[in-house]
Amino acid sequence: MRIKLHGTRGAYPTSSKETRKLGGNTSCIEIIEENERLILDAGTGILNIAFDSYNNSDRIDILLTHLHMDHIQGLGFFKPIFDPKKEIHIWGPGGSSYPLKDRLNRFLSPPLFPLMLRDIPSKLFIHELPNEPFKLGKFLITSKFVCHPGPTVGFRIQVGSKSVTYIPDHEPMLRNAHLFEDDNWISGFDLCDNADLLIHDSQYSSEEYESKVGWGHCSIEIAAELSERAKAKRLVMFHHDPEQTDKDRSRIFKKFMSSHNYDFPIELAVQGHEIEV
């Protein structure tokens, strides 16, 4: 599998020079296996995907972790949605009193958006994620609800023996500096278990987190602890705080790395990077 990071920023997009290196687009990654693709989240990063470059299928599958704006902001603006030949399947969490379609319609309708959902030119199919693993082409997809305000899932995507876990917004422990001792009490643990690649929320330093408890995000310390406990083979720290410049992020990351010694690679997510597992 190849994983392209199209949007790595949390909360809202940034365009300053100071955030250019890690990237200013909000959450979106693309997972590619041969000529098949999945798109996870539709933040502004989705606008960077070259939809016809290697895959000319008229079907596009987009999996949404949740409906916070930074994860759906690109949905109304990426080109295939205006192409009547395209069949776009949007998958997102159920678990609300309102169907997924109604919740998406709040954004994709006036006054927030010029068109009604029903007037979008492409063929749009909206599915609530099943509670069981399911297949889309070569990809085996598992979604699980995780700790974050509102219905929010993380994804584990498998092809053969390889797996990628994507949990961009996650607060596995509220307030505590460490995870529970038992693995089965950790939010998202099954998704991360022995993953070849874990792309995980790491929005804050532990000091910053103290004033952001309950906001739905975690510290880089907790992300690394979760990765280690789950024996993930590589950790990509994702969902950068938009208030932090690249310099800020790098400084916090370097300080963390200098005081911890993990036996798996850890890196900051960089927009435009491609990772192979």
């Binding site: 699980k144 609800f145 089965n184 009490w185 099954d190």
Partner: protein, 132 residues
């Protein structure tokens, strides 16, 4: 062993923050977690006991009515909620570690999360003599 449902995990996080005794059970009645105030009632620490089957944890309480008659397992609120998937409430007596009876009120609620499946139940034990 797979991780618990997120609603159970969040229930534990809530219980950790409360000063009233809280018990969390799975759909079979197995006691998954009890918080520190609940340890005072059971006389055992969660980290020492770990999970307990319904028969085992019930024996620790010796639930009885005001005449000292044992209350059947099925009539206890938490067990009732496990069987019916509905909230339950009851006032009765239990024995503390010294064998002295005291009156408590128990309220249990089903934990049914976003998957719409019954994930277990949570009970709050209220010591009727307690003055906060």
């Amino acid at each position: 062993m797979s991780a618990h449902e997120i609603e159970i995990i969040l229930s534990r996080q809530l219980a950790d923050c409360l000063t009233v005794p809280v018990f969390i059970v799975d759909p079979e009645g197995t006691l998954l977690f009890y918080n520190e105030p609940a340890e005072q009632i059971l006389g055992k620490r969660f980290q020492d006991t770990g999970e307990m089957r319904v028969e085992d944890w019930n024996n620790l309480f010796s639930p009885h009515d005001k005449y000292g008659n044992t209350i059947p397992l099925a009539d206890l609120p938490l067990v009732s909620t496990i069987n019916s998937h509905e909230p339950a409430h009851k006032t009765f007596w239990i024995k503390n570690m010294e064998g002295k009876s005291f009156k408590i009120s128990v309220t249990s609620i089903p934990i049914i999360g976003r998957s719409k499946e019954f994930a277990g139940a949570l009970a709050i034990f209220w010591d009727n003599n307690l003055k906060l």
